[in-house]
């Protein structure tokens, strides 16, 4: 059957096996030589693409939950959405959450995903105390920072190349309210946006939506948002009806004109609402989840999501160069997202490092891949790297230059025989 990542590029034919429980996990390796695990398929590129795919989406049972301590153990196919459904009414939230809740726990670990609070709280793996993984040697390992710690640090961020995560134990975060106190500011340019981040470094959550069509003195104009958990309101999950894009849209819908109109409009209307207000966590953390299958808006050719990080010291200069390059190319991103990152962790292929990260969507059209190669060069020049979960075209040399610990990762993967059994189109492209 046809499979793709969230960007709907590339699309391949694959045999997909979808077991309903992890009980017989060891037998999964007997059916084919090489395969890759896949959760809910929300990585953008080819991280979970391979001719043989093991989809864990139905291995989604909760195994243990201590509602007093917030310690949760679940199968790896469990979605973050399901965790919020049971956790929030009892006063528990995800300590780190990416921009969509339709991600599996296994996927969140394999991507070592981050949220709007990396500068304070780090990555998803920070709150994962252990997991069990089916490795390439056919054995199941219980990994933690104390036990098989090399496999632990290789698997977190290891994009599925060390094995198939079966279940994980997470520490949820106590909340008193499902509301977020949100404060929004307009920044006229990139420098102002970055200053706002720096001034509000102690706020729990921060993110900026950047209009990357703006030029010259408005380069990097953005809406910068900060959030804190409220203390005094009720705990409810949000059961609003969602809208859906029922089929792929024609590609001409997303073009330079419509995207720049949208960006200008969004920037303008962001000034109209109150500066500070209370919002439910749903629109604060998951604004796009309301629009199911929003990726279909990009049409049949799909799109590329490009996310990079630049170290803080030269971040402003590097970001400016990149935004200028994009602006002059005429290729626009619908909404570009800027976040502040804290320190790098011990996971070998984890993406964040102390600095600024920008995520962009690009419709696939002629000239795009050349532009992205040019952006890669700028990213590397400023000491940064590209996010693997969103990548579908980075070269092996760009990967090696950006991830200095890739060799240690490869050694550990080999130790547990991951190189014999777990591959993806991405790993082949990156020379892993």
């Amino acid at each position: 059957m046809k499979q793709s990542g969230w960007g709907r590029f590339p699309i391949i034919e694959a045999t997909v096996s979808t077991p309903w429980m992890v009980q017989n996990a060891k037998s999964w390796l007997t059916e084919c030589d090489a395969l890759i695990a896949r959760g809910l398929g929300r990585s953008y590129g080819d991280s979970s693409l391979f001719p043989n795919i093991l989809c864990t989406k139905h291995c989604d049972h909760f195994l243990e939950f201590d509602s007093k301590s917030g310690r949760l153990k679940c199968e790896s196919g469990t979605s973050l959405d399901a965790i919020l459904e049971i956790g929030v009414p009892q006063g528990w939230f995800l300590p780190v959450t990416p921009g969509t809740k339709y991600v599996s726990v296994g996927g969140a670990i394999a991507g070592d995903v981050h949220g709007k609070n990396h500068h304070r709280d780090g990555c998803f793996s920070e709150f994962c105390s252990s997991f069990s993984i089916l490795a390439g040697d056919g054995l199941i390992y219980e990994c933690s920072r104390e036990n098989h710690s090399d496999l632990f640090h290789a698997t977190c961020g290891g994009i599925g190349l060390t094995g198939i995560i079966l279940d994980a134990t997470l520490q949820l975060k106590r909340i008193k309210s499902s509301q977020i106190k949100k404060t929004a500011y307009k920044a006229n340019n990139l420098m102002e946006a970055i200053n706002l981040f720096e001034e509000n470094n102690d706020v729990a959550y921060s993110v900026a939506w950047i209009d990357c069509h703006a030029k010259r003195r408005n380069l990097g104009r953005s809406v910068v948002m900060f959030g804190e958990h409220d203390e005094s309101r009720p705990l409810i999950t949000n059961n609003r009806q969602n809208m859906t894009i029922p089929f792929e849209m024609p590609s001409f819908l997303m073009n330079r004109l419509t995207v720049s109109i949208f960006n200008s409009f969004y920037y303008r209307i962001s000034g109209w609402s109150e500066r500070q207000k209370l919002v439910h966590y749903e629109p604060f953390f998951y604004p796009l989840d309301r629009l199911k299958y929003w990726n279909r808006l990009y049409g049949k050719n799909g799109f590329i999501q490009y996310q990079f990080v630049l170290p803080k010291d030269r971040g402003l200069k590097g970001m400016t160069r990149i935004l200028e390059r994009i602006s002059s190319s005429g290729k626009g991103s619908f909404l570009a997202v800027l976040k502040l990152f804290g320190t790098e962790n011990d996971n070998y292929l984890s993406f964040p490092l102390s600095g600024y990260t920008l995520a962009l969507d690009f419709k696939i059209e002629p000239g795009l891949f050349d532009l992205l190669d040019q952006l890669d060069a700028i990213v590397l020049e400023f000491g940064g790297r590209i996010y693997l979960c969103k990548d579908s075209r980075m070269s092996q040399s760009t990967f090696r230059a950006g991830y200095s610990r890739w060799e240690q990762f490869a050694q550990i993967r080999e130790k547990y025989m991951g190189h014999m059994r777990f591959h993806s189109l991405q790993s082949q492209r990156l020379g892993l």
């Binding site: 429980m21 049972h61 195994l63 243990e64 939950f65 459904e85 049971i86």
Partner: protein, 246 residues
């Protein structure tokens, strides 16, 4: 008000999805299935999702002699069930059944005889207790015998007619029997079949089951577009239908 829910064939994908809906509402649930290990995983999951109480018993539905004793235990443990969901089934390989009467008999036992036996027993128990809803998962395949799937179709059709009789019997009583007829559903049972646009998920069928309980319907096609499709299929004269490969 907290309800007592008995689920037979609890490890089926549709049953599990429906059970999660019951758990979310905080009901008390009793699960019956063949595989003890699967039952314990599902039970634990349902408790975490909010079920007030979850107990289990193991039963192979074709072991007709054990129906009564297991149902005794379930009714005892759970209390009088408000809702009974019968969800077990298997999808036979039509070709194997065509070649073997004993394969056909075996499939019929699983998909028809066992269900009818359970319904006979459970209907009487509910009549004694004076209230209850039985939900049975049959299939659109039971609406007409088709060359590609008539063993399964006949079994589900037999159950559907049995249900009609029960619905008539209990017309004036506060006991309902609801016939859920799913179309094509992506579950372990259908894992060998290539999926097209008509396929749906167990969660969607579970949604239909849960809302049918509020409305006390007789027959529910899930999703609802199957009602029209099956009407056309049922009404097509044989001389045209036989030309198809359906």
């Amino acid at each position: 008000m907290m309800k007592n829910v008995l689920i037979i064939g609890a490890s089926s994908a549709i049953a599990e999805a429906t059970a999660r809906g019951f758990a979310k509402n905080g009901e008390r649930i009793f699960l019956i299935a063949r595989d003890t290990e699967k039952l314990s995983v599902i039970a634990k999951d349902l408790k975490i999702r909010g079920a007030r109480k979850v107990d289990c018993a193991t039963l192979d539905v074709t072991d007709f002699g054990r129906h009564s004793i297991v149902l005794d235990f379930a009714f005892d443990s759970l209390g009088a069930p408000d809702i009974v969901l019968i969800a077990h089934g298997s999808l036979p390989k039509q070709q194997d059944c065509m070649n073997s009467a004993s394969a056909t008999i075996s499939e019929f036992n699983t998909n028809a005889v066992s269900t009818i036996a359970l319904l006979t027993d459970i209907a009487n128990r509910l009549e004694n207790q004076g209230h209850g809803i039985i939900v049975v998962i049959t299939s659109v395949a039971g609406d007409r015998g088709r060359q590609s799937n008539y063993v399964y179709g006949a079994a589900k059709g037999a159950v559907s007619i049995f249900i009609q009789g029960l619905q008539h019997r209990f017309y004036r009583k506060p006991i309902s029997i609801i016939n859920i007829k799913p179309g094509l559903v992506d579950t372990p049972m259908t894992s060998g079949i290539e999926k097209t646009a008509l396929w749906t998920t167990p969660e969607i069928i579970a949604g239909y089951i849960l809302s049918s309980l509020k409305k006390r319907k007789l027959t529910v096609y899930a999703p609802s577009f199957w009602r029209l499709i099956m009407l056309i299929i049922r009404l097509t004269p044989a001389r045209f239908f036989h030309k198809t490969n359906l």
